[in-house]
Symmetry: C2
Subunit: 340 residues, 2 copies
């Protein structure tokens, strides 16, 4: 059984060919040396693992001085975790659509930030031939044109993708409010925000009910619970206020402005991409868990990956995709390296 | 001897009446329970301390659920540190210009964020009767009108001050690049930034030579040294790039845009304040250590606190100011509470 592994900056996600899926919060920049242990623990829950298919974006984390160091660290930890579990084969996916078992310094910019490509290639191969794939993650939104069943952009690096609009660095959890709004209206007055990471878009989504409260989850800007009450307090803090002064009702008005700003920025990205590509998608394929941040045309077909794959697999979509791409590659041409 | 203590969010600053000054990096949100130890260690270096004069802004830190909790924590730790050192009197300064020895819940919004008021009151009393005081700190810039020797604004809370422009939440060290610039030009192309705290304005100032390199200082976004080389790498990361792709020369172009954005925002704040106050200052009094972020009119008198007080005291200006205000208050009316 192949297990797909998506090593992001803030989360590790796993899915096998049988649609078993797991994810864990792992902010790699805090303790990068624990990556192999986290991988080993999570992988131990999967039965009969014969090979790993790996995509990464975590090499971007600023504990690594550059992406070469990041890719090197991540591949080394994958190999160590696999060896400890007796898994013999590790295949790393690159934005050229190929898998590699050995990774050299010349492969760094192919392996870096390749999860979007694995997902889009899988969607093109198995779900729809022509579409715009939009995957809203915790930190970023990938916007990938698919034509004739393949990824239809030449922008492969994060830098090129930011420039063309196919990567919007706005997600549904981690984006700081101060990066979205330089000022906020409160009580009929526009007030510049405090430029601190006192609150994130997650707080706006909790306050507005787009995200369920989770009182035992402390992955927030201030380390206090993911509840409406504390989220409202975090939003109030952006204006130098706090819960003594801002009601939950008032906080929803602040939250509306944050969500509006995020929607605008993502919509701008989509427009910029479509304009440069002179591309009108036949359908939209929606992945991830922040669809409230999208404004889609009413007259277009919208395919939900969550409905197609189920919510658990959808949350780990790139890891499932890379597992299935490797599996397909084995079927097609059982030697490595190969194109899936 | 009175020692003035300025308890900020990221730094503790101390100065006595004889212009002995010290400061230490103390990000209160990381380990608020160590505040009393940090205070005690630093205060132990001052001779013959008879009283403390305290101003604070650290109650804003998001380890405290609201400012009431923050003020309570800070006053308690000050009292504990003072008791351990045998210092009998602690006077807390409020934005009403008064000192308090006992602090109740009704005093919270007076004591919160009062350092700007102490400094401006001191400047008005001792240096110039009519001026605009501009104090660029690590995190914020205070812009305080002084008329007839007293603070000439009714905006006393951070919220009201943000709104009127007398508080610009932009400083010379901690401000995240992603809060200043939503996109950056690089190689003749405008590219949206990664909305992460990968770099701060400190990196732009280091790259441009406004701040000296300090290879043994790791108080940076990625915990790597405060050198031009690493600062350039941090700036590159804002665009998904790194040192493999961005030269130091190219990084200076990125840095220029960051500094330009900060100058614009601070200038906007000053303009907004002067417009609402219909106030044309006779002089500018400049404090802090980020004067490169200011654009001042050529035809106005500019008084440098660093020249008047010396660089060491100037860096701890609010703590020196609050010590001198308490000393002056004792001379005027030796019972507490009193107005200085």
């Amino acid at each position: 059984m192949i297990v797909g592994v998506d090593i992001g900056g803030a989360n590790l996600k796993f899915a096998d060919e049988s649609q078993r899926a797991r994810s864990r919060f792992f902010p790699i920049w805090r303790q990068p040396e624990l990556l192999k242990d986290a991988l080993r623990e999570s992988l131990a829950a999967f039965p009969e693992v014969t090979a790993l298919a790996i995509v990464m974006t975590g090499e971007l984390a600023d504990c690594f001085v550059d992406r070469a160091e990041g890719v090197d660290h991540i591949t080394a930890h994958v190999h160590q975790a696999a060896a400890q579990l007796g898994i013999k084969s590790c295949y790393f996916y690159g934005v050229d659509g190929a898998f590699r078992q050995r990774v050299g310094v010349e492969d760094v910019d192919l392996l870096a930030a390749a999860n979007w490509h694995a997902l889009a290639s899988f969607v093109g191969r198995t779900i729809t031939a022509d579409a715009l794939l939009i995957d809203v993650g915790s930190t970023t939104t990938d916007i990938v044109p698919i034509r004739d069943r393949v990824v239809a952009t030449k922008a492969m690096t994060d830098y090129d993708r930011l420039g063309e609009g196919s990567l919007a660095y706005i997600g549904c959890q981690r984006t700081p409010v101060c990066a979205l709004c330089s000022s906020l209206r409160f009580q009929d007055r526009s007030v510049p925000v405090m430029n601190e990471v006192f609150a994130t878009i997650d707080d706006a989504r909790i306050v507005l009910g787009f995200e369920l409260e989770s009182p035992t989850d402390f992955q927030t800007a201030d380390g206090k619970p993911r509840t409406k009450e504390f989220a409202a307090n975090r939003l109030a803090r952006m204006l130098g206020l706090d819960r003594r002064r801002v009601s939950l009702q008032q906080a929803t008005h602040i939250a509306d402005q944050v969500i509006h700003a995020a929607r605008e920025r993502i919509a701008d990205s989509i427009q910029r991409l479509l304009a440069t590509q002179s591309f009108r998608p036949q359908a939209y394929v929606i992945s991830g868990h922040g669809n409230d941040l999208l404004r889609l045309p009413d007259d277009q077909e919208v395919i939900s990956l969550a409905e197609r794959l189920g919510p658990d697999v959808s949350r780990c979509a790139p890891s499932y995709a890379v597992a299935m791409q490797l599996s397909h590659g084995f079927d097609q041409r059982p030697t490595a390296p190969f194109h899936a």
